[in-house]
């Protein structure tokens, strides 16, 4: 006990130092958001640009939000984004977990070939596939300027297949064999045994897919042209063009776009972190 004594103030000092470092980094990562939020509440009498800069609005107002809401179908953007992200999640949960089952648990001719083929598609840049993808959308599938164009091509992400394959491999074979002895079909085994055993991995797939689709811009910007059919990201860029030098209005648009996904993050924080880091296991 006596020996620990002189160390105690040093400990405390060290802890304070760590907190200072942590706060400095947090300032770097969060500051742009803080500034955007304050700017979005600024009225015409609160300067956006001044020397020295003014951060906090003296007369906070919701006028910017009202203006943005009136001039752009933000509600539709929301609805479209939710449909796209939600639809893609559902399709991926079904199709990637179906595909992952044989890759994880069955032996069949061509398994290695299929596995490496899928692996190889990882490095194909989406911008490369977007050229023929555009042609397909216009000439074959006729979903140009329709949110189906964002859901349909991403129905089975290879990343998700690998993630679920990893998860399925941890399910003991005995469990599956027991099901087979009971006469269950492979589809039943998949639904009744495999899927319930990997719930966290399914949650991960859902979260990663949702966030990726929610934030995707390149392909949606190629596909969506009519205002009412845009997703939030495409709509936000349209807003930026429309509001040009109206910094307060653009800031309000940014806040409206970011807040829902941040709320989701706060609610599901544990799953987020486990999901995104669980994807790399050496």
């Amino acid at each position: 006990m006596r020996r620990a004594h002189p160390a105690a103030p040093r400990r405390a000092l060290e802890t304070v130092a760590w907190y200072i470092i942590l706060c400095l980094v947090a300032a770097v990562t969060v500051f742009p958001f803080v500034w955007v939020v304050f700017t979005s509440f600024k009225g015409p009498n609160d300067a956006v640009f001044s020397v020295p800069p003014q951060l906090i609005p003296r007369n906070p107002t919701l006028a910017n939000y009202v203006r943005v809401w009136d001039q752009l179908p933000i509600g539709r953007f929301f609805a479209n984004s939710i449909l796209v992200a939600g639809g893609t999640v559902v399709l991926n949960l079904v199709f990637t977990s179906l595909a992952a089952y044989p890759l994880a648990k069955m032996r069949f001719p061509g398994r290695e070939v299929i596995f490496y083929l899928l692996l190889a598609t990882f490095i194909v840049p989406p911008q490369l596939t977007s050229i023929p993808g555009f042609v397909l959308a216009v000439n074959v599938f006729h979903y140009y300027d329709n949110i189906l164009a964002l859901i349909f091509p991403s129905l089975a992400s290879v990343f998700n297949i690998f993630l679920l394959r990893q998860a399925f491999r941890t399910v003991p074979d005995d469990l599956l064999d027991a099901g087979r002895i009971d006469g269950a079909s492979e589809l039943r085994i998949w639904w009744d045994i495999l899927l319930p055993s990997v719930r966290p991995a399914l949650a991960t797939v859902a979260i990663i897919t949702f966030v990726n689709q929610w934030n995707d811009f390149y392909w949606p910007s190629l596909m969506l042209h009519t205002r009412g059919r845009m997703t939030l990201q495409v709509g936000l860029v349209a807003l930026q063009g429309m509001f040009a030098s109206d910094t307060r209005g653009i800031a309000a648009g940014v806040v409206m776009t970011v807040v829902p996904i941040l709320v989701l993050f706060v609610v599901l924080q544990r799953q987020f972190v486990r999901g995104l880091t669980g994807a790399v296991k050496g």
């Binding site: 958001f33 700017t39 640009f49 001044s50 020397v51 598609t121 290879v158 929610w214 790399v280």
Partner: protein
């Protein structure tokens, strides 16, 4: 189970494989074909042999774009360095540490478009950054951050790094937490101080994560688009200062309707990506073998 040929695995794989075939494999074949044609998407492709590639070799902007993409790869080592450091910082038991980790993660969740627009507003000539620098009297005249060609690429890279910090930090953090505590204890007994401990134990232990981050972040760097698009307003910057290979591909295909030419660019991108991924994985694997 009896060992007879069964259709079952193929049926399970069917829908996903069909999706991959239609949306990845077919497009690769189509891009190879388009690259030998003059194609504007509106009119049917016309075979022109190697002409696109001949044009490409003499296209100064293409070479500039290629160079910019290679420069952009610098974000990978910077991200690895910063994120390992950051992971070590947040890998300790302090009250509120989870909140800090979450705060660092916010840019990742927010997406490059919203964040890019926020940056664009702050970097405007009449923006916050100039306001701060002017009031500190570090500069006399506002700097045209977004109009000065020399700044375009560095600012975009900075944005990419800023967007990725939280994500890669979390990956390294998970890696650190998988390293057995005994290894650190042994290092302390061997006389390692705080940072030496990380040099001799953490870094070797993080090798799988370094490989993963190197591959993922360099693929992302080669494919960067959103940051450039937002910061340059879709124009690629003054004097093409922000044009990367992917941005050039996009402009040729979807702004200028040169889909054939863009396909040739896309093939170059594919070859570079392939070569780079192989080299990346080989190098890091060799490093791992040497380290054990």
């Amino acid at each position: 189970m009896t060992k007879r040929f069964s259709l079952t695995p193929y049926l399970f794989l069917g829908p996903a494989l069909l999706g991959v075939a239609v949306f990845v494999l077919y497009p690769i074949a189509a891009v190879i074909y388009y690259s030998f044609t003059d194609y504007s998407i509106i009119t049917p492709p016309v075979w022109i042999g190697l002409k696109n590639f001949q044009t490409l070799v003499h296209d100064a902007i293409f070479w500039q774009a290629l160079w910019h993409s290679l420069v952009y790869l610098l974000v990978t080592p910077i991200l690895i360095f910063l994120c390992i450091l950051l992971a070590i910082v947040v890998d300790r038991r302090l009250p509120g540490i989870y909140a800090f980790r979450a705060l660092y993660y916010i840019p990742v969740i927010s997406g490059s478009i919203a964040v890019g627009i926020a940056w664009r507003l702050m970097l405007d000539t009449n923006g916050l950054l100039n306001g701060i620098l002017l009031s500190l009297e570090l500069i006399r005249e506002p700097i045209q951050w977004l109009a000065e060609p020399a700044y375009t690429l560095p600012i975009a890279m900075l944005l990419t790094i800023w967007l990725g910090l939280g994500y890669y930090m979390m990956i390294f953090l998970a890696g650190l937490q998988n390293i057995p505590e005994e290894l650190y204890d042994a290092a302390v007994i061997d006389g390692c101080n705080g940072w030496q401990k990380h040099w001799y134990v953490s870094l070797p232990g993080l090798r799988p994560q370094v490989t993963f981050v190197a591959v993922i972040s360099s693929l992302a760097a080669l494919q960067v688009f959103n940051e450039i698009y937002i910061l340059t307003g879709g124009l690629g910057g003054i004097l093409n200062s922000g044009v990367t290979i992917v941005f050039y591909l996009w402009r040729q295909a979807f702004r200028l309707q040169h889909a054939g030419y863009a396909s040739a660019v896309a093939l170059v991108l594919l070859v570079i990506t392939l070569a780079f991924s192989i080299v990346n994985i080989r190098l890091l694997e060799r490093g791992a073998e040497a380290g054990t």
